[in-house]
Subunit: 382 residues, 4 copies
């Protein structure tokens, strides 16, 4: 039997979907960088589930709706953006492109969408802000043992025009990513954590015992600098430092989500950290379901989600299940690796176009029409 | 271990089932044509599910019934045909055989079954009618932005003896079929959309922006000509133009099916467009289940179904779950590619013979005996 | 990684399980014979399910039971046999060994278990009876269009000491077995249906139309000779001819099983004919579950089952779910192909030994202790 | 597409998880030893399920808990050990390392955890005790037909400082392990069952009939020496000989577990014997669920579990589902094969470190905080 045209794109502009962008990027990245970007925790079950879960959720399209005009814009914490597809925080964009986070921020800006900058960025937050003044940016925060430094970086972010603080709550310690350990991930000389001051980096508190079975620089950084004693008190502490809205990233349980709402948190990103922290937790979209249910009666908290989103239909399903917007992680890095700012832009444009087609074929003219009845959860439930 | 006789047929008349016909056809068709016929939307999950779903539905045969006489005839909108297996509308049959839709219509006619001709046929509807005068034919309608042309083609169909209008409702825009995009599907010079007048084809309304990420001629045709503003008002409009019965093709939801019934529509084809429009919708036969349930109390609307039907047992299962008849899409095109009219006939004869065996082994002597109790839906439900 | 010892037995006496016997037999049989023995209907889904279903049924063993003495004997229609493992009827044993059904009958006799001889045996029923006088034998009956011949063969069976008539009810027509069609199965010259008289075989009633798409001699035999008008009346007719107990083989539905019980049938073999008749019916063991449930209140009917039984644990599960005994089909033929009578004996001894181990490890000392609570049906049900 | 770094470790200290340790060990062991260690019963369905079941159980992590201090210690029958990860009894450690059980005991001792020594150890129980005086050890008991010997070995164990008797209840006969039969497993000359006295070994009671289809020395040993008449009376008998606590290993059913509790047994190890006894029983962790439920109201019995535990997340899931501790079987032997005492230690350290990470990422600071709500049982249940 003739196998037919299995097209592996040779050039970036031939890519018709994000899977192909990923393929190209894998070929471009060094083993060191790829292992860092690609790896999930443990047996990478959750890494795989993040994508697979979407195949178990079915669309339920409505026909004969006038879809000649589609409006994808949405409001995130009161700010209007062009689409409910945003850029998740991730470390070290310079592993993928020379200008690193500056490329990413420019792309987000030009498409009028939101980017979250990581504490562990390879470009200084002030520089990212400077080169993309008007774009909507939030700042992802890791709370370090050094609370003075932490307070300071929050203030720096606010001063530089970041519009919210996104506190990562699922990383009191780094997950065990075995690909990193096997390649013994290390920072290339020309790249560093530009937001971290020299003082912070110099104070070695890590013990020999702790690094014994670890071979990854990033893992060691966490053991050494990040604060594993983080608890719900930190919310009050952050509120005492900044007036910015506060988002929790990495909430998994409905009771934790309710607690966040009760404490006045402005938003949560339902996330398993791209399957990189704890293996065998549920996929991002499956975590979303009970959380959205539990937060129905709380009006002042917004829900976002990330994890395995590769198709416009994935975005649509997340919205139907209660998310206000979704965040893309690895695909952004893959676009960056392929063609810098242009690569990021094209990645977002591809999935955006798919979302538009999905909305048209489902009979939803604006994101507010993407209701719970647009998806069917159980394949076997009729 | 000796692997035993894996027979790949070399000749069409050695094919014992529709899978083998497909294999032969794949070898015969050009990449351009094959990509167009074979492709599904997105990751082709629904394309695959259309076939797989039948494996999850089990037969529940009755024994010791006298099956020496089997009657497969059925009534469709009051017309008797020889079997509940009909030909779905599909575009451009000349991609598969020289005489295109004329071959298909002849085969349908000789077997005394129903064929639906596509708006996008490669033979003019009047010519198809002329060469097969007495065969039962319905006309599939795409509503174009040019409503005058649309009204006119409805009248042409009625005048040429087509007995119903089948309005496609799941294609306000074409689904994203990546195989088409990769081969940049284009019409061979000698083939054209014969029902579309030159005026219609000439009025280019498509913008450069719209075709930016699209490389397929058929995709562009939809962007340019088809009317994405279609809504339930169109039913009244069609009724004002023709006295023919009206069928909606592409209904997915039970509430839409009920709406159609309430509006006096004569029939619906439950269909996901062969998995070509929106990926990750349910399979055709699974869509059928809640719709048949919801329409139980409506006497004046008939239900048909298509999607992934390759075996007589598949036909039988659809009838058991509430369909009056099923429609074959790709298998017809594969038969056409193998041996023109004769190929189409043989495809239908193979699956017809399987249906007869299935009816005999299930103890159902006529289609009206194929009740809901003849299938078991959940493998694990006892 | 070193792959370790994957032992493919070279000699029959090295086989440790029935899978290995099958492997050896596949190598020994001609394509013609193998296709006939091995083939299932359609896509062979049910053929596969017959085996797979046992993996979804879990054992629930009881510990600390004195299992120093195990009694596997059981009573079948009042006759005691040594084990609840019997030989299913199958056609043409001479395709596998020179002495054909005589070998099979000897093995059954020596192990003191029951064999059912097929109407389509390649040794005359009187000869089988003659060479194994005291062994327990039942006679499988196909009702032919020629009712005089049929009445006569029933009388011959009773006269020759067969102790029950096993009426096949799931074959008004033969299932479509595509392996047979591909090799165009035909009888070797030296082998014939020895129970069928010349008169019966000569009267050709089959039409050209009917054999059009069929290429298998066995399929044609059915079209020509077997009676597709069989219905529940046949029970009275058989009762009028013989005093032997009557078993129905091939019952699939609980309502048909109840009907059989109400009509005074003595036993049923729950069976899908080895997946050879109608594809996508449930596995034998899954069919058993609702039937055993429905027949609970009927004391005078016994339930047996066949289909995919390859392990002692499979036998045990069938007993737990309500069967009085199980029947082996293909494994007997594979044993026969490997080493004639000795091969059949060894096949039964292997699975018998497995049953004994299973009973010991489950804490069941006799077959009557193998109750419903010894199995867990749903993997996910706790 | 570049496949990236698939690291197969060349050296033991490069192994980052227990799968890699297994791989290395497979390369080191002889076929004879490997077959004995690796093999499961029958088709090895349960062997496989033991691992796979953990993938169907999902973690439900709590965030924003101060996890700067983690305490993994636990109490087992009143004795504090450093972690809830213990060493299951297994036979013949000298097949893997020269010092055999002495290596294993030393490793357990140094990590301050519990080891269970097998009746079938290749080092005398007194010698194991002598070389690791203060380590916590329990003694696994097979009850032999020779009850005098059995009584004596119980006394020897108590005298040598073993702190509990672990009675194996799922092996009245050995399961059928086909890998053993294929390699005809036999003891290397220099290795023997050191706890069994010569008198016991000499009295051959096994008949020729019984060993007919068996080719494995270990299987024969069971046929010959072990007592298949074992029943619940044995508990009283053991109580009459020793004051040590009594644990039953191999309980599968909730009703048997309740019976054990009612009879005053001190603990049970829920276990399917590593999938080596009866194929198609449920996985260890799935057996645990209904048993833990049924024993809720019994305060004086502890529950442990083994089977397929390879990850810290597996340990955590067992604790969440009601186990006080888990036991590792094959991974210990693989560590032993790789590097003797050091290998065992490293195996435990790897999974221990994973457990610590899992506890931190789940927000559980001590084992008592690992409650039932920390896991989600059904992937599809929201």
């Amino acid at each position: 039997m003739k196998t037919f045209v299995k097209y592996t794109p040779q050039k970036f502009d031939e890519c018709v979907n994000l899977h192909e962008v990923e393929q190209l990027a894998i070929n471009k990245l060094t083993d060191n960088s790829l292992s860092y970007y690609y790896s999930g925790a443990g047996d990478e079950e959750t890494l795989k589930e993040n994508k697979d879960a979407f195949r178990r959720i079915h669309l339920n399209p409505r026909v004969l709706v006038d879809v000649s005009h589609i409006d994808t814009s949405c409001n995130i914490l009161g700010q209007k953006i062009s689409m409910p597809i945003c850029i998740a925080p991730s470390a070290l964009h310079k592993l993928a492109s020379e200008k690193g986070e500056n490329d990413t921020a420019s792309a987000a800006h030009k498409l009028n969408t939101l980017m979250i900058l990581s504490t562990l960025s390879s470009v200084k937050l002030e520089d990212v802000a400077e080169s993309n003044k008007t774009g909507l940016r939030w700042f992802q925060l890791y709370v370090l043992k050094d609370r003075e430094f932490t307070a300071n970086i929050i203030k720096r972010a606010q001063k530089s025009g970041f519009k919210a603080i996104v506190l990562t709550v699922d990383a009191p310690i780094l997950g065990s990513r075995e690909r990193d350990q096997r390649v013994k991930f290390s920072l290339p000389k020309e790249i560093s954590y530009e937001n971290l001051t020299q003082t912070v980096l110099d104070s070695k508190q890590i013990t020999q015992e702790e690094i014994k079975h670890s071979s990854s620089q990033i893992f060691n950084l966490f053991l050494d600098k990040m604060d594993p004693s983080l608890n719900w008190e930190v919310i009050k502490w952050i509120r005492s430092i900044t007036t910015l809205p506060l988002i929790l990233k990495g909430v998994h349980r409905a009771d934790d989500a309710v607690l966040a709402a009760e404490m006045g948190v402005n938003g949560i990103i339902v996330s398993n950290h791209g399957g990189r922290q704890l293996d065998t937790v549920l996929s991002g979209v499956e975590l979303l379901i009970p959380i959205a249910q539990a937060l129905k009666k709380y009006r002042n908290i917004e829900i976002y989600v990330d994890g395995g989103i590769r198709r416009g239909t994935d975005v649509f399903k997340c919205l139907a299940l209660g998310a206000k917007a979704v965040f893309l992680g690895r695909p952004i890095l893959y676009g960056l690796a392929c063609e810098g700012e242009n690569g990021v832009r094209r990645v977002i444009e591809i999935i955006y176009k798919e979302l538009v087609i999905c909305m048209k074929l489902c009979g939803c003219r604006k994101v507010s029409e993407i209701g719970r009845d647009m998806v069917i959860l159980k394949r076997t439930k009729f």
